[in-house]
């Protein structure tokens, strides 16, 4: 490949045949394909490893919102005889930390108007970013709980909380502020599952507890000698940072 400044390349004609070179030699010639100036080369290192910490303080959620997030996580994936719950695995931290990523501002979505209501088949048509969904969604649910049950969501009994979440999910409890079932299924529940099952470096899935529960080996990514055998895989999980579960 020629060096590229876009202006100075001279007209070049090459002979029809190109000698084949072994890959090692080809790799050496790869320097020509380095990005042009002003471009950031993606790092080969994983994102910094920040597993869940016990004394986490939220960066995005307020002191009013944080109890909601924790209470919702505790009901969506409770600790029980099947395995660890979302709280002990750090899922609230995962969600709070995701609020600091470009995704939370809608940066990977087309967010230009005009916005119109549409049948569900046309997907997300709201102008609300994930941050706005959480801000408005939590407020709307706490307001509804306050009106009907005289307490914010986090202060309700677990059975009441389950009932509220079920009604929101099926669309029987609604708000004029935003479509609550979209907030529930498209954001809250989705992000709880991500945090529960994602790599521990993002703040959830502490000690790969969720992976151990279902028998998922995580980042092992090497199954050639096992794939032909329909048997239980014998090894526990590893995380992207090489910890063993």
């Amino acid at each position: 490949m020629s060096s590229d400044d876009g202006q100075t390349s001279r007209r070049l004609f090459l002979a029809n045949t190109i000698a084949l070179a072994p890959l090692a030699a080809l790799a050496a010639g790869r320097t020509a394909a380095q990005p042009s100036k002003g471009e950031e080369l993606p790092s080969s290192a994983p994102a910094p490893d920040h597993p869940s910490v016990p004394d986490y303080r939220p960066a995005f959620f307020t002191t009013v919102e944080w109890p909601f997030i924790n209470a919702a996580c505790a009901r969506l994936i409770p600790a029980d005889e099947h395995g660890p719950g979302a709280i002990e695995l750090g899922v609230p931290q995962y969600i709070d930390r995701q609020m600091g990523t470009p995704w939370a501002d809608g940066a990977i979505w087309y967010m230009q108007g005009p916005f119109f209501a549409a049948t569900p088949e046309f997907g997300y048509q709201s102008q609300l970013t994930p941050k706005q969904q959480y801000r408005l969604g939590i407020k709307a649910i706490d307001t509804l709980c306050q009106e009907r049950l005289e307490r914010p969501f986090a202060a309700l009994a677990p059975a009441q909380q389950d009932d509220v979440l079920k009604q929101i999910e099926k669309g029987s409890l609604t708000s004029t502020e935003l479509p609550l079932s979209t907030f529930f299924s498209g954001f809250l529940l989705k992000n709880v599952l991500e945090g529960y099952f994602g790599d521990p470096m993002y703040g959830g899935n502490k000690d790969m507890g969720a992976w151990k529960m279902i028998g998922y080996p995580g980042a092992r990514a090497d199954y050639l000698e096992w794939v032909g055998e329909a048997k239980a895989y014998p090894y526990g999980p590893v995380s992207i940072y090489g910890k063993r579960g």
Partner: protein, 591 residues
């Protein structure tokens, strides 16, 4: 606008599979080739190095390798009387971005085409009569034969190191391959991959039912391999991070693993990334392309003169560039006149999860994108459609592509979606769930087309491409037929329950769940300029120094995965440019 760049012999718009194929072919012919790619440069190391890339959050949940829709997307509606709305989040289909394009995050299923699909109108008319074609279906022949393409299918498989088993070499039927296969000139470069549990069960069940299972061709290497360009592939280790992911092992064929190492050594080739092409420029008469205009990394508009222009971006962008450049006559669904945007098609995918009891280990976390067993007893015109009353067909497979919990743990119908009951269900099912699917053709219809959206624009102020498409009766009746077959096969595989999605009459195209990135048509190829945008050499009928590659040249949606055909067509176009066009530039077919 900055002063124009120095002219080049060829400017290639987009640098995925077709861009890389055309670039190396024309660079080898001695031309000065410039490829413009709007995304980032990318390579196995550092971009897809282990362990960084085996991360379901960044790659699957946050679409790490996909087009950032905030810059550009499409709008969608079901019918031309509806208002189209933007495709705001990734859902039904997954366009890629950057060097390698969708050739990075694809699965690797590497099929060809059936000879009769290239002459479907003739085939249907000859076998069932012209009245068998329903009103509103725009069936047409593609203007090319399987025999013309076969050497290029063969070559693309050699380039990719495709794993498979031939069922028909030069008319000689072979055990173990697909008995419906069209004649091949050679065996596959590599033997089939090891069958994972889903595929083992699928092969046994379909054989017992009297069908003809064969190993699905996979551009995931089953052995170490060196391709004709000297590029080396390593054996797939079934890591389970294939679709949505770049390959950690140099096993999945991509431009990076199979073509670019040699191309990057050629001094007459230049790649410019962060170059977003806005339009193809033409001369005063609109008969010749003079080059392209793009926006560079600094946001400046730059004119790039070229003696020849090749559109090699993903389907959506190729069609939109034709429309926004004003080349060819846009299709008018009222009159049926015009061609650009006509024959826009998709594919129907029925997906059924199979739940087994705890003694059956499927281990869905192991897998490879292209590995699987498939049957073609109901593909194309391999079966009699007369009594069934629909046109089309598809492939049914038991693949095991690799899945992790963030990508979603399928559960039996009626399972809770959260809480203790959900936990019990994911724990019980995760290791014991498989999946079978049917991937079906989608015919072209008068009411399904592409044009420019009147309301929504991209980050550069250019109108978005507008899709007008919905499932039609013919295709949904076909889908119901396949739903019954899937159910029969799932039962025979020993599933204790099944849950999934089978498209039925009354269903609309739902743009939310992923189903297939195999969108196609819009700049159909053909022998008749009244119904096609490019001739059989993928040369624009209107602008003879413009070639248009990609699945957008399909005249209807085939049942196979399209990459094999897209790659073969790119090699075919390149071969004819080298053998004919360069000697005598001008139309290769007279209008």
């Amino acid at each position: 606008m900055a002063s124009p760049n120095k002219p080049v012999d060829v400017v290639i718009v987009g640098f995925g599979w077709t861009g890389a194929i055309m670039a190396i072919e024309l660079a080898q012919a001695g031309l000065k080739v410039l490829a413009l790619e709007r995304g980032e440069d990318a390579a196995t190391v550092p971009n897809w190095a282990y362990p960084k890339v085996v991360d379901e959050i960044s790659q699957s949940a946050r679409n790490g390798l996909l087009q950032n829709l905030s810059k550009s997307t499409v709008t969608i509606r079901h019918d031309k009387s509806d208002r189209a709305l933007p495709y705001r989040q990734i859902g039904s289909f997954k366009p890629g971005t950057g060097v390698g394009g969708a050739g990075i995050h694809w699965s690797g299923v590497h099929s060809r085409v059936m000879p009769e699909e290239l002459r479907l109108k003739s085939q249907i008319t000859e076998r069932y009569g012209a009245r068998f074609i329903p009103a509103g279906m725009s069936l047409q022949d593609w203007g090319i034969t399987f025999g013309e393409l076969e050497p290029h299918f063969d070559h693309f498989e050699q380039v990719c190191g495709t794993s498979g088993k031939a069922g028909n070499i030069q008319g000689r039927k072979l055990e173990g391959g697909n008995p419906f296969e069209a004649p091949r000139s050679h065996e596959f470069p590599l033997p089939p991959l090891t069958d994972p549990p889903t595929s083992v069960l699928f092969a046994k069940a379909t054989r017992d039912l009297g069908y003809h299972p064969y190993p699905l061709p996979a551009a995931n290497a089953s052995r170490p391999y060196t391709n004709p360009y000297g590029c080396q592939l390593g054996p797939c280790n079934f890591c389970g991070f294939c679709s949505d992911y770049g390959c950690i092992n140099y096993s999945k064929a991509s431009p990076q693993t199979t073509i670019l190492p040699l191309l990057y050594r050629m001094p007459n080739f230049t790649l410019r990334t962060h170059a977003h092409v806005l339009k193809v420029n033409t001369d005063g008469a609109g008969k010749m392309a003079t080059g392209v205009t793009y926006i560079d990394a600094q946001g400046q508009e730059v004119e790039q003169p070229a003696a020849m222009v090749v559109l090699a971006a993903f389907h959506l962008h190729n069609v939109r560039l034709m429309l926004s450049s004003g080349i060819g006559q846009p299709y008018n669904p009222e009159t049926g006149e015009g061609t650009v945007g006509r024959n826009f098609c998709y594919q129907l995918l029925n997906s059924v999860n199979l739940f087994f009891n705890k003694s059956v280990y499927i281990n869905q976390f192991m897998g490879s994108g292209g590995v699987g067993q498939a049957i073609e007893d109901f593909y194309g015109d391999n079966f009699d459609h007369g009594k069934l009353g629909f046109i089309g067909g598809g492939v049914i497979w038991g693949r095991q592509t690799g899945n992790g919990p963030v990508r979603g743990i399928p559960l039996p119908s009626g399972s809770p979606t959260w809480g203790s009951g959900w936990k019990a269900a994911v724990k019980e099912n995760f290791l014991h769930t498989g999946r079978i699917e049917s991937q079906l053709s989608n015919m072209a219809y008068r009411g399904c087309y592409l044009d420019l959206d009147p309301t929504y624009r991209d980050a550069y102020g250019v109108p978005l491409l507008r899709m007008t498409l919905n499932w039609q009766d013919n295709d949904l009746r076909m889908s119901e037929f396949f739903g019954e077959k899937l159910s029969q096969i799932g039962k025979a595989m020993g599933a204790i329950s099944m849950a999934g999605r089978v498209l039925k009459r009354g269903d609309n195209w739902d743009t939310r769940p992923y189903q297939s990135t195999h969108i196609n048509g819009g700049t159909a190829m053909g022998a008749d300029p009244k119904t096609s945008v490019v001739n059989k050499y993928l040369q624009s009928w209107d602008v003879s120094n413009l070639f248009v590659l990609g699945a957008n040249v399909f005249a209807h949606g085939i049942g196979y995965n399209p990459t094999g055909l897209v790659g073969a067509l790119a090699y075919w176009a390149a071969a004819n440019i080298r053998s004919s066009y360069l000697q005598n530039p001008g139309p290769l077919v007279r209008r």
